[in-house]
Symmetry: none
Subunit: 222 residues, 2 copies
C-alpha cells in the first residue's frame, strides 16, 4: 500500500483529502505546516500533496527541502493560478500543479500517474527497433530471428533495454542481475556483455547495440 503525505493547513480540505485517499486505499500521513512536513517526511512516503499557502515557510522553500530529503513526486495544490509561481515550482521539482478548487477524481487520477509510472501498463514485451524481448517466455529475437540467451545474459539485456538510451551503472547491474552483493566480479560482467554482443552481432554485424560508458556502465541503443 502506498503512503501519501498531505501537507495542508486548512482543516476542512485536509480532512476531505484524507477521507478520499483512505477510501481509495492509500495510507495517509499528515502535516499542517511546512516544518512539520519536513519532520514527517521519511523513507516510506511515496507521494506528497503540498498546499502552497502554509503558515511559516513558503512553498518554494519547502519543496526544495522535501526533494532534498527524498525525491518523491510532489503534487502542488494551490488557489493561486499565477503562471510565474507555477513555473518556479516546476523548476524546483514539482511534478504536478492542481488549482483549487479541484475535482477529487482528477486529483486521484493525477496521483495515480505519478505513483505508478511504469508498473501499470508496462508491457511484458520490450521492443526496440530490431530486438524484441519477452519477459514472460524469456525469448529474444533480433530482426525476427531467435536468439538463445542464458538467464544472466537475458537479465542484463532486459535491464539495458528497459532503460533504452540511458546509462545503466555497473552497480545497478550487479544489484539487479545478481541479487546479493557478494556476487560477481567486474570481469564477469564484461564476459557476459561480450557474449551478448557476439550473439547480436551474428544477426546484425553492422551494429553495436550495447555501448560502453567508460568506468560507469553500459547503455542500450536501438
Amino acid at each position: 500500500m502506498k503512503t501519501i503525505l498531505i501537507v495542508e493547513d486548512d482543516q476542512n480540505i485536509h480532512e476531505m483529502l484524507e477521507t478520499v485517499l483512505k477510501n481509495n486505499h492509500y495510507n495517509v500521513k499528515s502535516a499542517y505546516s511546512g516544518t512539520e512536513a519536513l519532520l514527517v517526511h521519511g523513507k516510506d512516503v511515496d507521494l506528497i500533496i503540498l498546499d502552497l499557502m502554509l503558515p511559516g515557510k513558503n512553498g518554494e522553500d519547502i519543496i526544495k527541502e522535501l526533494k532534498q530529503i527524498k525525491n518523491v513526486p510532489v503534487i502542488i495544490t494551490s488557489a493561486i493560478g499565477d503562471i510565474d509561481k507555477k513555473l518556479d515550482l516546476f523548476r524546483l521539482g514539482a511534478d504536478d500543479y492542481v488549482t483549487k478548487p479541484f475535482n477529487n477524481d482528477e486529483l486521484l487520477a493525477r496521483i495515480n500517474v505519478h505513483i505508478n509510472k511504469n508498473s501499470s501498463i508496462s508491457a511484458e514485451i520490450i521492443k526496440s527497433k530490431d530486438i524484441e524481448l519477452n519477459k514472460k517466455t524469456y525469448t529474444v529475437t533480433c530482426k525476427n530471428i531467435n536468439i538463445n540467451l542464458s538467464k544472466i545474459e537475458f537479465e542484463i539485456l532486459k535491464l539495458l533495454m528497459q532503460e533504452n538510451g540511458r546509462v545503466v551503472t555497473k552497480s545497478t547491474l550487479f544489484d539487479t542481475v545478481w541479487d546479493n552483493e557478494n556476487s560477481a566480479d567486474e570481469n564477469t560482467l564484461n564476459v557476459h556483455i561480450s557474449k551478448i554482443r557476439n550473439k547480436l552481432k551474428q544477426i546484425n554485424p553492422n551494429k553495436d547495440y550495447i555501448e560502453t560508458i567508460w568506468s560507469i556502465g553500459y547503455k542500450f541503443n536501438d
Copy 2:
C-alpha cells in the same frame, strides 16, 4: 536529444508547438490526424502531445492504440475542460491533461516532468537553468542535449552544481573527487575544468557556466 510527437490538426497551433519545442532542443515529429499518429509513432518517440479534437478517430481510441504500441508518456491538450472526459483519458493512460489555451512554458515544464519520470531507476537529478545532471545514471544534459562526461569530469560538475552560486575551493574539489590526500596536481584540475567547459561550450557558446575564482577555486553559475 528527445523526440516529441505532436498530434494536432490545427495548423497554427501545430506550427507554434513545433517552434517552441525546437527552440528548446527537442526533436519533433508531426501528425495531423489520429491514424497518421499511429503510423508515425515508432520506437524513437519519447513523448506524445495529443490534441483531442482530431478528424477521424476520437481521442480515446487513439490513446489506447498509441499506448499499446509503446508506453510513452502522453500529454493531452484540449479545449474541453469536461471532467468526465478528462477522467476517461487518465484511465486510458494519459499522463497529463492541459486545457487550451495553455501557457507554453507550463507545457514545457510538464513535458520535462514526464520525460524524466519515465526511467524506472529512480532519478536523483540536480537541475540548473540549462543543465540537468542525473546522479544515478551519470547522465548530463545541457538544454536537453546529452553531454558525455568522463567520471572525474562528472564528479567535478556535480560538486560545483550542488554548490550552485557558491565557491568550491580547490581543496574541497581534491578531497571530494580524488578520495585520498595523495591526489592530483593543481594542473590536473585545470585540465579537467577546461574539458568540461569545452563540452558545455559546444552546446552554449555564449555562456561560461564555470567561473574561475582566482587562487581559491571555481563557482558554478546557472
